[in-house]
Structures are given as structure tokens and as C-alpha cells.
């Protein structure tokens, strides 16, 4: 069931982005791009990742709905223009993937570093947790 839920999530995201986005950009230019981001990515993020149509447990590697969008864009053109469309796009594809891997590693390491600093700031312990000498009053020093 979770598998089919996820398929529907990636499917709708890919379907909406790879059709409406171009339409809005053709009509309104860059403003259309912003509109598309708000009216497509906003609700699709809400449905897929906020409500959780695509189930991603916390300890699993995160497969963003962008994966469905990216695959939809590539396969739309393959179905429309034949498989050569894929072979000729390999340079762009590989460059984008290399950049993304570097970006992902950098973001992960930076996030880790930020959390370490945050922990240091908030880490405070009571100075002393063991009861003081003669705490129970059995042998009082007070005379």
C-alpha cells in the first residue's frame, strides 16, 4: 500500500510540474515561474511530505518528490522525441548530478557542524550531582 501511495505522489508531482510550469512561463515569463512554484510545489510538498502521502521513515534516506518530477521531465521528452533525446542530454544530466552530489555532501556536513555548535551552547550540567559530605546528617560537622 505504501508503495502505491508513493507512486501516486511522485506521479502527480511530475505530471503537474512538467505541464503547468511551461504554460505559466509562456504566459507570464519569470513571474509565471514564481506562480508555478507557489501553486504547484506548495500544495505538492504539503500533500507528499507534510501530510505524508509518500511515506519516508526518519531513518531512511530521503527520496524527495523532486525525484518524480525530474524523471517525469526526462521521460516526457523520451516518449515524445525518442530515446536519442536521452543520449544527447547525458552531458547536462551528469554535470547536474555531480553538482548535486557536492551540494548534498556540503549541506549534510554543514548541518552536522551547526548542530554540534547548537549542542555546545545548550549543554549545561549541574556542577555537582553527588550529595555533599555528611549530607544525610548522620555525622554532622556542625558543632
Amino acid at each position: 500500500m505504501k508503495f502505491f501511495r508513493a507512486i501516486i505522489g511522485y506521479f502527480i508531482a511530475g505530471l503537474l510540474v512538467m505541464s503547468i510550469w511551461n504554460g505559466l512561463v509562456d504566459s507570464y515569463g519569470i513571474a509565471g515561474g514564481y506562480m508555478a512554484a507557489i501553486i504547484i510545489i506548495g500544495p505538492m510538498y504539503y500533500l507528499n511530505h507534510y501530510i505524508g502521502l509518500i511515506d519516508i521513515p526518519e531513518d531512511h534516506a530521503f527520496v524527495d518528490m523532486a525525484f518524480g518530477i525530474g524523471v517525469a521531465g526526462i521521460f516526457r521528452d523520451i516518449f515524445m522525441n525518442g530515446f536519442e533525446a536521452f543520449t544527447s542530454t547525458i552531458p547536462t544530466l551528469s554535470l547536474v548530478i555531480i553538482g548535486a552530489i557536492i551540494g548534498g555532501i556540503a549541506a549534510g556536513l554543514i548541518e552536522e557542524n551547526m548542530e554540534k555548535e547548537q549542542d555546545k551552547k545548550h549543554a549545561f550540567k549541574p556542577a555537582d550531582e553527588t550529595p555533599g559530605p555528611k549530607y544525610d546528617g548522620s555525622e554532622s560537622n556542625l558543632k
Binding site: V25, V63, F75, F86
Partner: protein, 114 residues
């Protein structure tokens, strides 16, 4: 594609997942679901403008090639970042295959009417 364009394409791929990973989750933590819309507008909208929107965009598409959306970069980068932070690869294969199926299906349906 010139060398300069190739470097710019790579930097475009760097930019998008980097910004998503570091700020999207925090925006949602701070503003609730509306933070997701803010992220959509200010991260996706703005990075889309430089990567695809302007006349000479950062991501140069290959001639006669299939469209490489910056979403590819988001998917790869966010995936890698979550692995760096200890996400497990093996159980994520369910969503990878779901994403492939959903994406191919969407591409097929799109090719029927576009």
C-alpha cells in the same frame, strides 16, 4: 556547451539541494505548513529563476536533449545529504522504485496530450 557553461551547470546543480536541505525543514519547523509555501516561493521560485528562468540560464540544456530539470539536482542532493546524516540506503529503495514508476508514468501520460 562551453567549459564555462559546464561549470555553471554544475554550480546550478549544487545550489538547489544545498538551499533546500539547509532551510526547508527549518522554515516548516518555524512557520508550520505555511513554511512549506514560503520555501516553495522563495527557494524553488528564486532558484528556478537563475537555473531555468532567465534568458541565459545557469543550467545549460543539451541540444535536442531531454529536459533536465533542477528537480533532478534536488532529488540527488537531498538524497545524498540524508545519507551523510545517517539515512539508510537499502530501505529507501522502495521509494526509489516508486519514484521511477511514478515519474515514467507521468512522462507517458504527458506525452499523450502535450
Amino acid at each position: 556547451m562551453t567549459t564555462g557553461q559546464a561549470i555553471a551547470t554544475m554550480v546550478g546543480g549544487f545550489l538547489f539541494p544545498f538551499m533546500i536541505r539547509l532551510s526547508w525543514g527549518k522554515l516548516v519547523d518555524d512557520f508550520g505548513p505555511i513554511g512549506g509555501w514560503m520555501a516553495a516561493a522563495f527557494i524553488v521560485g528564486t532558484v528556478w529563476t537563475i537555473n531555468h528562468g532567465i534568458n541565459n540560464p545557469m543550467i545549460t540544456q543539451s541540444e535536442n536533449g531531454a529536459w533536465i530539470d533542477m528537480a533532478v539536482a534536488a532529488a540527488v542532493g537531498v538524497y545524498v545529504a540524508s545519507i551523510v546524516r545517517g539515512g539508510k540506503v537499502k530501505p529507501s529503495m522502495r521509494n526509489i522504485s516508486a519514484g521511477l514508476s511514478g515519474g515514467v508514468l507521468a512522462g507517458l501520460v504527458l506525452s499523450f496530450f502535450l
